[in-house]
């Protein structure tokens, strides 16, 4: 497929095909091509997932126990579209209310983790002693899987909303703190010396040298934290006893053997996760890379 050819392969082809003999080989504007290529690769990926799903579901429904049906792609999307109608409620709430509830918790948990993780990361990044002491508790935090916080959060916050938020926050503090501090510690010494030699204050050095240098790492940390927290949110909602939200919805419909609804919930989780990661964070990261002169800008 010509769309998937590398730039060098295209140059080779053009060089051999062309009639003229100029030193410049026109390749055309790469933007639409690259976009098309990205979309194409994405679609192929999705089709592959659907293919596996289709094989599994038809095998199951044809050859295995018949009391329960494995939702096919068709079943799942029918259910999804059915509940996308605002008048149809699932477990006392509309689909939109479930999504809104989950997103609300996620935002709160993520913001809390962002504030704490950034502060810890900054302190650890600028001071060697703080790093050595701070990395121990942050490392311990990292070792505890999200749901293992269940007993702690039940004691602190009881069942419900706040517990879900706590579990999200506590699991993403460490990736954010570690990435921020690692980014700050990676700044070349010579650049810090330039700042010192030029008489920049400690604060100016932080804002004008350290933070721009580590911006990409910070965004990377937020991106990982984002993905972790989104996954964590769904599991947290399944155990801490909330009455609305995507995790709750999947858990309850599964208990009621309403598998198509549970699958619809999974689809929504994937779509939201993909939008946040691929559409928002990936582009922010790309923009920042370019802005920071990390990649050749035209």
């Amino acid at each position: 497929m010509s769309l998937l050819k590398s730039t060098n392969e295209r140059i080779t082809q053009k060089m051999n095909d062309r009639e003229d003999d100029s030193d410049i080989i026109l390749l055309g504007n790469p933007a639409p091509r690259n976009l098309l290529k990205g979309v194409l690769i994405f679609i192929i990926g999705i089709l592959f997932v659907f293919l596996v799903w289709d094989v599994v579901s038809s095998y199951y429904n044809t050859y295995m126990i018949k009391t329960l049906r494995f939702p096919t792609i068709r079943d799942t999307f029918d259910t999804l579209f059915y509940y996308m109608d605002r008048t149809h409620k699932l477990l006392r709430y509309t689909l939109y209310e479930h999504v809104a509830a989950s997103m609300g918790r996620w935002v709160k948990g993520f913001v809390a983790a962002f504030v704490i993780g950034m502060t810890l990361g900054l302190l650890m990044g600028v001071n060697d002693k703080i790093y050595r002491f701070g990395s121990v508790p942050v490392n311990i935090l990292q070792m505890i899987p999200g749901l293992a916080w269940f007993p702690v959060t039940i004691l602190l916050f009881g069942m419900g909303n706040n517990s879900a938020i706590f579990i999200i926050a506590i699991t993403v503090i460490s990736p954010i703190a570690f990435n921020v501090s690692a980014g700050l510690r990676r700044v070349p010494q010579v650049n810090l010396r330039v700042a010192r030699m030029s008489g920049r204050s400690w604060f100016e050095t932080l804002t004008e040298v350290l933070l721009p240098f580590s911006l990409i790492d910070i965004i990377g940390g937020l991106r990982i934290g984002m993905a972790n927290s989104w996954r964590m949110l769904i599991s947290a909602e399944m155990v801490v006893g909330v009455a609305v939200g995507l995790g709750y919805m999947i858990n309850q419909t599964t208990n009621m053997t309403d598998y198509p609804s549970a699958f619809a919930g999974i689809i929504i989780i994937c779509v939201i996760g993909l939008i946040i990661d691929k559409l928002i964070f990936a582009n922010v990261e790309k923009y920042a890379r370019n802005k920071m002169g990390m990649e050749d800008s035209p």
């Binding site: 070349p188 010579v190 650049n191 010396r193 330039v194 010192r196 030699m197 030029s198 008489g199 004008e208 040298v209 721009p212 240098f213 802005k291 920071m292 002169g293 990390m294 990649e295 050749d296 800008s297």
Partner: protein
């Protein structure tokens, strides 16, 4: 009073395991007077950059002390500015911003800083590239930006660590001349590290030679500041003498002096 006086300093760096330290500079003393152009030569790894770091105030000696105009050097100062050996520009700033960064903000308004930066960018011949990012410049161009940045600081002492080693012969000669002109016009004190003996003879009023492992001063030539003809008999003899005194680098397997810090 000397501009810089180095009084019997020694400096050691710990090894990776931090169970021993290697002496890099040993009992180095040096007086640098007003308006001198001191060139430091010596084999790779002998401690030339370390001397510069000590004068700049990035590092502290383990023994002895350094004075700047009679005051002990305890930290950095915009009066002692460095052109670093390695790449030291900020990748997200264009050339103009990089040069502006180091100009005193208390002394100059933003407009004046831009003017000043432009003047020195022009001096190193990069006016056309003022809006380019370092990534889009060649190695030599990057180094010229670093030189413009240090010049724009208008420091009392300029510390230059092999600033032209990445440049082609032509550009290097042009910039050598540029530095000489600036030095003559603006009355600065310069400490200049180079591996190029001809360059040292052309620029320096004095040449200091360091030996390796540990670095100590093993040779000193006072040449004066009058214009020199590198091809003259006198200069050729001088060059041959300096070259013959240069040892191979420390990496060539000389004895290495170790002091043990565990015992203390």
């Amino acid at each position: 009073m000397s501009v810089i006086s180095i009084e019997g300093i020694s400096k050691a760096y710990p090894n990776k395991k931090e169970n021993a330290a290697r002496i890099v500079l040993k009992d180095v003393s040096l007086e640098i007077e007003e308006n001198e152009f001191v060139c430091i030569v010596g084999p790779s790894g002998c401690g030339k950059t370390t001397v510069l770091n000590l004068i700049a105030g990035f590092e502290r000696p383990n023994k002895g002390k350094l004075l700047y105009r009679g005051e002990e050097i305890v930290g950095t100062s915009p009066q002692r500015a460095v052109v670093f050996q390695e790449f030291s520009l900020f990748p997200w700033m264009d050339v103009l911003k990089n040069v502006e960064f180091s100009i005193d903000r208390k002394k100059y308004a933003p407009r004046e800083r831009t003017e000043l930066a432009k003047k020195y960018i022009d001096l190193v011949g990069l006016s056309e590239f003022a809006d380019h990012r370092p990534n889009n410049l060649s190695g030599g161009m990057k180094q010229r930006v670093a030189i413009a940045r240090t010049l724009a600081m208008q420091p009392d002492v300029m510390l230059m660590d092999e600033p032209f080693s990445a440049l082609d012969e032509q550009t290097r000669k042009k910039l050598d001349q540029e530095i000489l002109d600036i030095w003559k016009k603006e009355k600065r004190t310069v400490v200049f590290i180079t591996h190029n003996i001809s360059e040292a003879i052309l620029l320096g009023t004095r040449i200091i030679m360091l030996s390796s492992s540990p670095g100590r001063i093993v040779g000193e030539w006072r040449i004066g500041s009058e214009d020199k003809d590198l091809n003259s008999e006198k200069m050729t003899v001088l060059r041959n003498e300096i070259v013959s005194r240069l040892q191979p680098c420390a990496c060539a397997g000389d004895r290495v002096r170790i002091i043990n810090i565990e015992e203390e």
